[in-house]
Symmetry: D2
């Protein structure tokens, strides 16, 4: 298939690479040149503008956030150059409000719009084993299925309205943060009464909570290393959940709590850490040792 791909961060690069391996004809664009050049060496064409990438049957985009999507997809002439009947699958995690705006703008021009956010870290993307959440016109999803299959281990249909996939991704991220907050408070509680965090976390993540998220974040909390960045993105993401809740008059008290705790972590100077730094917040509240 002739595919355009805009947005070549760690995720986008890995995904485009898998499309090339699967034999698709891919034209890529990225704001910074480096990642595009690597893909050129793997067989991609490189466009000098987003519009230049939007000339095939399908456009995939994997931009960073609402702002980047607004600028690249809505801000320039991209929608104008795309032909009627073309499909745009947007892999970004963005606000429900923006998804609705995008869906309307595409519909106006006869372009099929699919929301296709993903779960999976860059190494999972590289292995072509993402979980891709999808929502949009069923026929359009069928058309791009071969592309999705080249990048994922499973495709999860969530509805016809594109915001269905976006809100599921937002809610899933929220569940991750909630799990981290729960580990953080539970580990502080046990530590306060003399239990080694590693012992407690090993117990829980080997039994009731033997799930990847708990094991990965649990290990970081047990070892008091919270490196890797991302807490600012988590703060943004919990804001997406609260905004989506607000749009539907839905209170999310646990999301509010997490937002407040993330702000506290950021205020403490931990903006370079990841969301597991919530464990430092929980410990500090009781003047327990909190790692570095």
């Amino acid at each position: 298939m002739k595919v355009g791909f805009v947005g070549l961060g760690l995720m986008g690069s890995a995904m485009a690479s898998n499309l090339l391996k699967a034999g698709h004809e891919v034209t890529v664009w990225n704001r910074a040149a480096g990642p595009a050049e690597i893909l050129r060496s793997q067989g991609a064409r490189v466009a000098s503008t987003p519009e230049g990438a939007a000339t095939g049957d399908v456009l995939l985009s994997a931009l960073a956030n609402d702002q980047a999507v607004r600028e690249v997809i809505l801000g320039g002439g991209l929608l104008e150059v795309m032909g009627r009947g073309m499909v745009h699958a947007n892999h970004a995690t963005i606000s429900v409000e923006l998804v609705k705006q995008l869906a309307a703008a595409h519909a106006e021009r006869g372009i099929d719009y699919i929301a296709a956010p993903m779960f999976g870290r860059p190494e999972v993307a590289a292995a072509g084993k993402l979980n891709i959440l999808t929502a949009g016109p069923p026929a359009a999803i069928e058309r791009v299925r071969p592309l999705f299959e080249a990048m994922s281990s499973r495709i999860w249909p969530l509805g016809v309205a594109p915001e269905c996939a976006s809100v599921a991704k937002i809610a899933g991220n929220f569940m991750i943060f909630a799990a981290v907050e729960a580990i953080a408070e539970a580990a502080a509680l046990t530590l306060a009464h003399g239990v080694k965090p590693a012992d407690f976390i090993d117990l829980m993540t080997s039994t009731l909570f033997a799930a990847p998220i708990y094991q990965s974040y649990g290990r970081q909390i047990a070892e008091q290393r919270y490196e890797g960045g991302g807490i600012l993105m988590s703060y943004k993401d919990v804001g997406l959940a609260l905004a989506a809740g607000g749009d539907a008059n839905l209170p999310l008290p646990l999301a509010s709590l997490i937002r407040d705790s993330l702000l506290e972590a950021i205020a403490a100077g931990d903006e370079k850490l990841n969301v597991s730094a919530l464990a430092k917040v929980a410990a500090r509240r009781a003047h327990l040792p909190e790692g570095n």
Copy 2:
């Protein structure tokens, strides 16, 4: 080994039964006669008082809560009849405050006290596959290890001070409730934007949260059946977490949130449901359909 066993609820009966199967000589006592008679038919001796069960090398107890433990263990003459050097392993989920009081009362009389709360439902207990958390004098734990092994798939040592095991059990229960609250809010958020709860929950519990707790409660929430009772016990249990936090000057905002939501569920008349009724609370706050 000559073992006494007091407290024959669903858990205790299954555990005592496994001790008999493993060839131990077990004397049981229970407030109501029925369960003791069933165990008699499996080879147990039946004592007419708790003191009558405390004549062997080891006493195991699996009582319901703080009140039952206070009455049976501290309220009568049980500690007086137990000989120096005897071991008492207490399987109940009780407050940190009471554990400390029990440990002191046993130490005064030269009795080894082990806290040994468990994770596992009655059917797991029946299969002898509990996870037993232990804390107490290491030599005492070694002595009762054969008993624990007859009842469990794994023994988790958590410290020398008995409250270490108790607080780990309390913190683990709190993590379960936190997971349910997270599913509840996330499912309400996605439903509010048009996603079928079953689709969202299937996605999450097949991927990032492929853990028993999420799968079991997730299914109940997706299917809007919250039967099985237990929410009053969950309310009691989150109170144990808050009390243990208070004892250590540790705020647990997520536990506070869960306590408030459980109260709301109970006030709504759902005291016959289980903790998954938190999903009804989350939905009702946004006037979403909430099941029965």
Copy 3:
């Protein structure tokens, strides 16, 4: 003084009227014509565009919210027609982010920008007894002092940076909502144990809380009438507090709690009531009678 006044809601109309009474030469503009015509009958000139009102020494604006301010002040050519050295005092309650943006846009063009939000209901404005919060260049504030004095009983200087006055207004509104939430929960607690809400509220607002806010909202809660609209504006206002907190990495857990409760009130269909409908939310959580 030659004054322009844009935004003639209940507040703006009363304020402009007082400026006329004090002998100032006032040119008014409003999106809808009605209020301007009333002021014309009191001696005002009526401009047909915001720019037409910005021809004197000073421009006062009393627009509804961020969106109206963006459209009227930043969206058209208003700043272009205003001369260097002119003063713009903005009475709207708007976000800290927008205040900063406005201050920068005015500074670029040599216009003095003053934030001047107010406390006081329309009848207070009509009586010329507002409390006006001010922040901006001190010399500019001196220049407009006669105008502020014609509209207020007191002027409160809060700093040189305009956002100082805005954030104080936002924080003050938050304190109002917090007081209402406190009355709501306290009244529910006493009612649940058999006390008549009116008895409890009379006690508190006659003694420790003998302050206007408590007396006014307390009476509404005691009498279970929550009419008068405004809850949607309260929801917007608590959002301003949370956003201002977020800008400064400051968690505001009580503001988060209020936001969630306001959403719950709105979801329950009470968007026509005022913030005292928080009392219905508190009562409903415990299945207490909640009025209409």
Copy 4:
């Protein structure tokens, strides 16, 4: 009237002193001897046991908390020596649960029980200007009215069931803490954006919140002096609110929030300060300067 008075803390001593000044015949008892001797010099008889003070027509008690009330009123023989038809008015702030237990125990013996907690600090008690909340049998309240009038500026009847007065006192204390939390968060928010706390607090407590509680705690927060102790009692008191809520299946999310913040203050080592130290917690969460 012949009155017994047990519990001579700062409050009790001032109250008993006013009874003497009003010409009543007062027999006092206190655990520590000092305060009783001072009252002896004012004309009181001093009993060596609580029972010795319970020989008149009326017993007043002003004990510190649940524990003291349990020990002195229920733990000894006090109720046994009191005659049928005697009245006991209990001025302590105690749990709803204990009030009900006391009311039942008194009723069993034909003693009239009145709950009579108070608002007012020791200097207000000394001036005989307390606000006394009352609940109990109306005839009994009439009998002791002359005593209450000697100690108070106003008597507030709240119901026939004694817990009505207790829960009102508990709810009133909760409202005080809520006001402090609101000032704390609002002052942190304005400070974070450059406003001097004293300027903001002066504004609010001179206008919308011109009430004693706001002025007194506001001044302490503005001046960053939080001395005077009492935070541990505030923690106890918010616990009474949460327990009373729990008894009625009533969630009190704001009380939960305050409990958590008080724990955080105590964990930070501020157990010698008063509840206004919540302002330090709010500031610390954003890494703002927090005073000493």
